[in-house]
Symmetry: C2
Subunit: 333 residues, 2 copies
């Protein structure tokens, strides 16, 4: 019964599409000819069939687009408006059909529910604006993150800050007056080799975890804590994966640029020659990759692991920040 | 001489940073303590050094961010405003220093000049809004592209449309009245095996190129022609690489989604079971990859080959369209 009704609708729509095509051709007289050059009956049958066979939905769409592409070239405003209105109505009617193209959404419902970029008002008032930025070395990702956080007036966290905060929390927990100067710049120097004794001491201290793993898990806790209590921007640290696993709303962005552009950037910023810059980038990419894959089990830098990836070389620092602000629905300043 | 002046500025700024940290700590009394716990002289010397040594610019930035992160937690609005103002002024002064962090842009100047998403008014009035969308199968990329083009009222081109247009141009060129029904739906069926004779005939016809290559080059011409003369959205066909090589302004977007989400989408849309869907996706991904890499020499789906990559599973169809419209500075409807 309902199938019969649908068939009638299909036939009616097919007729309207056929007539629209004929009309567009009559008005335009394009040398390319009509979209449908077969006779009415055959074309109606084929169009109805296309509407009925879901898998080929995109073919019907292509036929429609071809007609509308031509209709849009009509010079006479009245004729154009008349035919585009008919086109819009046909399209709307087709979209109402069951199982028609575009009617099946693509959605990772769980992740989309946590995606702050979708629309802020959808997510509870208690949630904070948390932006996770992963980046490749030399893509100016840190410059972009820092400036973006500053423009948005939210807290900025990178690896150095995490290390400092972690140290302090550690010192606090041990209830030891930390006499260490936190701006002890030796921390930026080379690490001296750890003795076996130190390693054993740490293993004991971190409940059987290696120090590296213990640091990662402590940092994970810290990142979740931050994201639950304040607006912030977090650079790297697999923060996106950590927050996703803990069901905490956030936005995840990956910033990269072509290798040769990054090489030039590193040469400029770090006063390196090309050979040094290439070696440095390859080493850093390898480290990033290893860290990310070890702690997330996902491939590093694959577009589908983030909400959005931006090629900073195609925008520059200021425009990349602007793109992200536009994504967040923030007005351009 | 100018180096001496810079040193004075460094020392002055270092003093202001040290004082700001002390002030923030005085007002907040955080249990985490001050950022700088060393004595004034040592800290000033180290901070000046950080400002002087370009490669460590990001460390200075981390120290500053740590102070401002704390300052932002001050409850008293007057105190907060006073200290944040001082912070902003220090930051501005630092950004004025030669070679300071964020001062070296990352930019592929040639590509950025052709990037329509940067800002439309920057590019000449003769340019058109050309959006190139690459997508993985099952990411709803076609749905997104078609609806976006419709919303923007620009022409939509996909592989089916290109094939039809190419056929017509071919027929026109040959000065043959094309008696073929362009909506000959056999074209959607399986291709019959070509005979050697047909192949040789084609090789001759396409000036020694294989038919596939000839089609690609003709299509490249068509894509350039379209992008030069109208606003349009082009699905696939390596259009981004073709336009880039021909220095034609455009926006390049890659749409993808995680494999398991795409599998579910294909199962829903094409009435396949999981095994069929996985096999289908793997085959299509392989074909896409091969086509793209053959004609561009670039790796398919790497974020740095596009202006922007969007994970459609984290937004859904409507929101992905909205994100792209926001990127284009178009208001949300």
């Amino acid at each position: 019964m309902s199938e019969n009704i649908n068939r009638e609708i299909y036939t009616e729509l097919a007729n309207r599409i056929y007539d629209l095509d004929a009309e567009v051709y009559r008005v335009l007289g394009s040398s390319l000819g009509r979209t449908f050059t077969g006779n009415r009956d055959t074309t109606i049958r084929t169009l109805s069939m296309l509407m009925y066979t879901k898998p080929d939905g995109h073919l019907l769409r292509s036929e429609l687009a071809l007609i509308s592409n031509m209709a849009r070239t009509i010079k006479d405003p009245a004729e154009k408006s008349r035919l585009m209105t008919e086109y819009d109505e046909i399209l709307k009617a087709i979209e109402q059909l069951p199982n028609m193209f575009g009617s099946t959404d693509i959605l990772d419902a769980e992740r989309a529910a946590l995606n702050l970029a979708v629309r802020r008002e959808k997510i509870s008032e208690n949630d904070h604006l948390v932006i996770c930025i992963s980046r490749t070395q030399g893509s100016a990702g840190n410059d972009i993150g820092f400036e973006l956080a500053d423009k948005l007036r939210i807290n900025y966290y990178d690896v150095e800050i995490f290390n400092q905060v972690m140290k302090r929390l550690e010192a606090e927990k041990d209830n030891v007056q930390d006499k260490e100067n936190f701006t002890d710049f030796n921390k930026y120097g080379k690490k001296t080799h750890e003795s076996l004794k130190t390693k054993l001491k740490e293993l004991n201290r971190y409940h059987g975890l290696s120090k590296q793993d213990a640091v990662f898990f402590n940092m994970s806790d810290l990142i979740c804590e931050l994201a639950r209590t304040e607006d912030c921007l977090i650079m790297g640290r697999c923060a996106d994966a950590i927050l996703k696993n803990n069901h905490i709303p956030h936005i995840s962005i990956f910033i990269s640029a072509p290798f040769q552009v990054r090489t030039q950037h590193v040469m400029d910023v770090r006063n390196m020659d090309m050979k040094q810059a290439v070696r440095f980038l390859k080493k850093m990419d390898k480290q990033h990759k290893k860290y990310y894959e070890f702690y997330t089990g996902e491939k590093w830098g694959k577009p589908e692991n983030y909400d959005l990836c931006i090629n900073s070389a195609n925008y520059g620092i200021k425009e990349t920040i602007d793109v992200i602000k536009r994504l967040l629905n923030q007005q351009t300043q």
